[in-house]
């Protein structure tokens, strides 16, 4: 049986279990610009900050010292504001624990479901060093290359964020009647890398619109902006926000995919109409094909659930008892129920959900499986959230966003 070996490391001068390691892509100066950590290497609910996944659509900007930074709020407000970090910290703050998940996380499973391609492995982490090098050289991936790629499986992390509710800041600015959209703008800029969309679609024979050099921005609908858990955060996991994660200030939009969590925030404009953000109208949209005239923007994620043990690669398993384990979370609040099937979906059994059950953070669940007969087993797990939504909620879409399907573990018991 291929037991998951505990690898060793030296930690603070002592021999210890190996710590999770981030697979990072770096720029020419050796600075990290992307990264993933295997979800299987993590334990518990909070992802260590150094292991938090990193995705950026544009170039990571040069850092700005907090004393040189301010946030402006303009547009459809009674009192335009300019706030420093210290101004924000004087407001009634809030901490929120939430899952950050890339909209394209687990995108490869769509193809596994739809086209029957081989099942992606959760042990796979893309070669970000190579991707960064190719990006620097301006090399575009071919269709064949993209078809052979497994897709993201590790662009999800759980964190605790401290900041101030966006609603509190908007309240102080005073929304004018008719204000509907909160246009959040980062000070990062650049020309969108078309390979991001090629990888998302799994093909590169589609014309990707080039908007030129732009700042990253998103227009958040007012009702989500006023959710008290939607934050402007300056801290993560008990420490100041890191530059790669958007310091001095980033937006936290629990339940909505990472592209909404605007990093390096510097300006908020309140508008009546949806702003024409590239990453809201051209990318991070649903739709059946690139030519589909109906491409609504992504909003809340569906119901997410992954099995972390056993996976296909853990076969063969010994007869006896196994704790089938996993993580579940939802784009609309807490998880109400997780069910496990060990017979390919013929029967379902309720799993134990561990406390705490927070609104936006994933929950750990387990089901003790007693297996005495050798053979092949298909293990399934499905989650239901507090809104009564049972996974899957999100159908295939051409940009392969928000996958929330049920992925089986196919194992053999000896």
């Amino acid at each position: 049986m291929p037991k998951r070996e505990i690898e060793g490391d030296w930690v603070m001068g002592w021999p210890d279990r190996k710590r999770p390691e981030i697979a990072a892509g770096k720029d020419a100066d050796g600075r990290v610009i992307s990264g993933r950590t295997q979800i299987l290497e993590q334990e518990g609910l909070i992802t260590p900050t150094n292991n938090y996944y990193i995705v950026t659509q544009l170039d990571i900007p040069e850092p700005v010292h907090p004393d040189d930074w301010s946030l402006t709020i303009t547009g459809e407000v009674e009192r335009p504001l300019t706030l420093t970090i210290e101004d924000l910290r004087k407001l009634p703050g809030r901490s929120v624990r939430a899952v950050t998940e890339c909209a394209g996380n687990d995108e490869g499973f769509f193809d596994y479901e739809k086209r029957g391609v081989s099942k992606p492995s959760r042990r796979y982490v893309p070669d970000f060093k190579r991707r960064a090098a190719l990006k620097a050289q301006g090399v575009m991936p071919t269709n064949d290359e993209l078809a052979g790629e497994m897709g993201n499986t590790c662009a999800m992390s759980g964190g605790e964020f401290t900041g101030v509710p966006l609603a509190e800041v908007l309240r102080r600015a005073g929304l004018k009647p008719g204000a509907q959209w909160i246009w959040m703008k980062g000070f990062d800029n650049g020309r969108p890398d078309p390979t991001m969309q090629y990888r998302s679609m799994g093909r590169s024979d589609v014309k990707v619109e080039d908007p030129g050099v732009i700042n990253y921005d998103k227009g958040l609908p007012l009702d989500k902006a006023l959710d008290p858990d939607t934050l402007l955060a300056w801290a993560q996991n008990g420490e100041w926000l890191m530059h790669v994660h958007g310091a001095p200030l980033r937006c936290i939009v629990p339940g909505w995919s990472g592209n909404w969590w605007v990093k390096w925030l510097s300006h908020i404009e309140v508008t009546r109409e949806m702003p024409p953000c590239y990453h809201q109208t051209k990318y991070f949209v649903y739709g059946k094909s690139p030519d589909d005239p109906n491409k609504p923007m992504l909003t809340a994620m569906g119901v997410r659930n992954i099995i972390t043990y056993p996976l296909d690669e853990d076969s063969p398993l010994e007869r006896g008892s196994h704790a089938i384990r996993g993580l579940a979370w939802s784009g609309m609040g807490g998880i109400a129920k997780v069910e496990v099937s060990v017979d390919g979906g013929a029967t379902w059994n309720e799993a134990h959900i561990e406390e705490p059950r927070e609104r936006w953070l994933w929950v750990r669940w387990s089901y003790l499986w007693q297996v005495d007969a050798p053979g092949a087993y298909r293990i399934l797990a499905r989650a239901t959230d507090v809104k009564g939504r049972l996974q899957p909620q999100t159908p295939w879409n051409y940009q392969r966003k928000h996958f929330d399907g049920i992925v089986p573990s196919d194992v053999v018991v000896e």
Binding site: E62, P63, V64, H65, D67, D68
Partner: protein, 266 residues
């Protein structure tokens, strides 16, 4: 006042010499991969002198850091910018990578001319790699401005600067009108360290990249005037001699005599 500070990136002189080797065929120093490169410590002193002048005179002092070197030399400029230089010039050209002192001086002088009205050029007394100590003064010669070497202190006075020079057996104070070039010695004192805010600001400060053509260097100025004929690591012969005596006092007395005879003690 516009000050140009000449800085050079060198292999960390504090690193163990044992990690270096020389390729006697190509007459080049061979460093292990990843060997740390730093701003030559004498050039850090030159930048510190410029910053002290700004402390004295005020914000009207503009400081431009100028370096000649490969891609990696940009890091040295970033350090200068994070310490307070306002902008920087990176002279970068394949034709200049193996420049000797003559070519280096011409390239740096051309950059200073291109910068416009420079009142004062500051340089380290020598670079902490080959320790030749001639480029700075060569720049002054080419620019046709007076030069003062081995400064351990500098302050602005009416129409010029007053420089305290280090001599072998004392100090000398001279005044020089501007424009001028001053080389700074390590006796200037402790240099400041970059803080986070300035380090972050440094990334947004302008760095101009100029090649030989943009500097208008002529063919004769690109011709080296010196030729390296041999490069080698000197052999060190270490001898150990035990000085003994019947008593500790006698042993000490003999040791002192031995050191005196060897001219270690005067």
């Amino acid at each position: 006042m516009h000050i140009a500070v000449l800085i050079k990136q060198v292999p960390n002189p504090d690193a163990l010499a044992a990690v270096m080797s020389v390729d006697e065929a190509s007459l080049k120093v061979v460093l292990p991969p990843g060997h740390p490169q730093v701003v030559s410590p004498f050039d850090e002193q030159a930048l510190e002198a410029a910053l002290r002048l700004r402390d004295q005179v005020g914000a009207a002092v503009k400081i431009t850091a100028v370096t000649l070197g490969p891609d990696s030399a940009r890091t040295a400029l970033k350090q200068a910018l994070s310490l307070g230089a306002d902008d920087a010039v990176h002279i970068h050209d394949a034709a200049l990578l193996d420049a000797d002192s003559h070519v280096s001086a011409h390239a740096l002088a051309a950059a200073i001319r291109k910068l416009g009205t420079i009142d004062l050029v500051l340089a380290g007394r020598q670079a902490a790699d080959f320790d030749a100590g001639v480029v700075g003064l060569g720049v002054a010669e080419i620019l046709g401005v007076p030069s003062v070497s081995f400064a351990c202190g500098i302050e602005a006075v009416d129409g010029g600067v007053q420089v305290e020079r280090v001599l072998q057996d004392g100090f000398e104070t001279v005044q020089v009108p501007l424009p001028a070039l001053v080389t700074i010695s390590n006796e200037l004192g402790e240099v400041r360290k970059p803080n986070l805010r300035e380090t972050m600001r440094a990334a947004r400060k302008p760095v101009a990249a100029w090649g030989a053509a943009e500097l208008g260097l002529e063919a004769s100025q690109l011709q080296p005037r010196s030729r390296r004929t041999r490069l080698f690591i000197p052999q060190k012969n270490t001898q150990c001699e035990f000085i003994t005596g019947a008593t500790a006092f006698e042993a000490g007395e003999r040791l002192a005599q031995r050191l005196h005879d060897a001219r270690v003690l005067g």
